[in-house]
Symmetry: C2
Subunit: 436 residues, 2 copies
């Protein structure tokens, strides 16, 4: 790769979904009556979101007015490609719920980003299948299937046989990953062996498993938006340590598990905490309480986990040698307002201008290509056409100063494993400037 | 203060409790039958702890054999003072449950460190009162009341009138702080206005409110100790953002809230996350979803919150300019095996040798004195007799090199507020060595 080569940018977190009422043909007739009831509650759901402050009337009006055309890309493939091109994004991982403002494209029965373990098992599976069928059609018929990896919705707490069958069906239909609920609520937690057949089929078919932020115990929050936002990222991250400590990554070494749109700021402390726990208990030895593991937790995270780290923050990039540069997959969150669309090119420049180019290539696209199995050869011509180049991100051709600035942080890395006394974060000299 | 002045060391997290059966005289007769039933379940509770791996038979045997005398300080004041002296600790904040290995000193009806919101309200209040009465006696009769601040157990989800009355009773009886459950479980979350009378009386009486790690949704963990340990610190920290975002610290500006034995590694990211959320939403202005606040979240934490940061780690000290040097209160966790007793003096040297002396004074004792209202004049003679001096911690009299090493981290501080681009953590040059 040379300085002139454009970035192959892949967004690990984008969203698509039909206007809810249009899901009807994808549902079986048996569910139509329940679907009508679900549609009738849309206004009540909107009022609930407004009450918590997740939704703001004035913002919503402005957002839909200013972005009418671009938002149609939520379910219109030609418009969507135009928006991706504008952002310099060659390919994308496609989650549900295109409309994060008014939930006009909520998947049937709320199995989109709010997918929850206590979902009615029959309706939940029906709603998931409806969205999954539509998504497969959308990707196939959209004219550029190589640009998309569709995420199948998977109500994993339903009957295991049905769950495994839906993974196989979705895979055969062209989808490339599965999203499971962040919260099992009153169902079996994810350490339970009842899920082993699901982990097995996902490993076999190379379907990464992802949780995505959204669900949370909202009944505990009253109308306090701050509480919700503060802990909403905890719930999708939580399954990571349930899988890890119960040996799922040991039993299924090829399984990939990721956490989407929940940041990655929490990962360094988690790795430090878990590694110390494991290593302090004579990990792997006889009598260890962690005999289901054979490696330190961070080694499993390096091998089995990834972060779909939407809208990566400068603070998070400063932590990347603790997190693992290979673990971070950038995402634009198109077409959600909290993402970088339609200003992704400017955002990349602000955020990555002083990050080494080779690391930028990995975090902006190559990591994501590896996890989700994108065909980079097919994407290269698209990247040639629309991809930003290092110079566009303000990155200098001579990288020696950049490398020198980050050398101490890279050398210290995970200080608890490298024998260093303290963490070392940030560049060698404190820099003033943009704070994100 | 000069280099020769000893440290006034105060442990913000110690534990005392009677062997459970001896609580009987402190219970009212009406509860004796229920108490017998509680006692009869002790073995079952021990087996449950062993199954999860929290308890290890071989370790337990060795621990009690090697520390028989010192452990008697859990309920014997003279022995206790001897142990504190040995560790160089002048004073202590006294939580329940002296025995963390076999729970032989569990407070009646499990209202000690496992205090939970779904506790039976009548038995819970009875058990709390029994421990609180004993603790007050213990401190009064122990011969050195100036060395102890007793923490009253407070089942806050019970009837508010009774809860407020118990705070007043405990305060009149000489106790200085209250511990509330980390988890409200099925009761009202802590943003609920039903708790305002409790916050009010605690503010009025200058009784800090504390959560302490212990309770967690164990039914979700199967027999996976790693899951429990990984998230056990989340639950006591969680009330902090429930109080903060619901405006409790705005309505009760003199209230102090602390989180005990849960580390403080999670606080920098929390402050960064909450401040950005508040400031990004035009905090304090009209139409803000956070109109109940008038300051950035970190300002409330600086004013209202503290961390009883037992067994502080080097990684946490590296974060202290983001956390706030005034927020960290060290603790020995005596007589728990995961603490620093009986090796506190050596531990302090390992951990603090290159930390500035004035900051060490605050974190090892002065912060704690301020929060819990210790009479430092009365403690000074004790510190003179037993307190370690900076030289004992390996701290050089000439502090210029130490100050210079930390200057960049101090200057950057909370980078999101100081206009710096990245966090800067650790000393100016990466140092190899001890990793804790």
């Amino acid at each position: 790769m040379s300085y002139e080569d454009p970035y192959l940018v892949i967004s690990s977190d984008c969203h698509a979904g039909l206007p809810t009422e249009e899901y009807r043909p994808y549902l079986e007739a048996a569910q139509h009556r329940a679907f009508d009831e679900f549609l009738a509650q849309a206004q009540a759901r909107r009022e609930e979101a407004t009450r918590l402050g997740v939704r703001n009337e004035a913002f919503a009006q402005k957002w839909f007015e200013e972005h009418e055309e671009g938002l149609r890309g939520g379910w219109d493939a030609a418009q969507r490609d135009k928006e991706l091109d504008g952002d310099g994004v060659a390919a994308e991982v496609v989650f549900p719920d295109a409309d994060a403002v008014d939930s006009r494209t909520a998947a049937p029965f709320g199995v989109g980003l709010g997918l929850s373990g206590d979902q009615d098992p029959v309706l939940g599976m029906a709603g998931a299948r409806a969205h999954n069928r539509w998504l497969a059609d959308f990707i196939r018929a959209g004219g550029s299937p190589e640009r998309r990896c569709g995420v199948a919705l998977l109500p994993i707490t339903a009957e295991p046989g049905l769950v495994v069958a839906e993974v196989r069906r979705a895979h055969a239909d062209g989808l490339g990953a599965v999203m499971i609920p962040s919260m099992w609520v009153d169902k079996a937690p994810y350490h339970d062996r009842r899920y082993d057949p699901v982990w097995a089929v996902c490993e076999e078919l190379r379907m990464p498993i992802v949780t995505h932020s959204g669900a949370a115990p909202r009944h505990e929050y009253g109308d306090h938006l701050g509480i919700y936002v503060t802990e909403v990222t905890f719930w999708p991250a939580r399954p990571l340590w349930f899988l890890l400590w119960s040996g799922v990554f040991e039993r299924f070494p090829g399984l990939r598990f990721g956490v989407a749109e929940s940041g990655c700021w929490w990962l360094p402390n988690l790795l430090w905490f878990m590694d110390r726990l494991y290593l302090g208990a004579h990990g792997g030895k006889k009598l260890s309480p962690f005999s289901e593991l054979t490696m330190a937790p961070s080694a499993y995270v390096d091998r089995n986990c990834f972060i779909a780290a939407t809208n990566t923050k400068r603070r998070e990039l400063a932590h990347r040698y603790e997190i693992g540069v290979g673990t971070i997959c950038w995402g634009s969150d198109y077409p959600h307002p909290e993402g970088t669309w339609p200003n992704t090119r400017q955002w990349m420049r602000t955020t990555f201008h002083d990050i080494p180019i080779d690391e930028t290539r990995r975090m902006l696209g190559l990591n994501c290509a590896e996890v989700f199995g994108f065909d980079t050869a097919k994407l290269t011509p698209i990247a040639e056409r629309i991809g930003p180049r290092p110079a566009d991100l303000g990155q200098p051709e001579d990288q020696s100063a950049v490398e020198a600035a980050w050398a101490p942080a890279r050398e210290v890395g995970r200080h608890w494993l490298t024998g260093h006394d303290f963490p070392f974060l940030g560049t060698a000299a404190p820099t003033e400037g943009r704070t994100l």
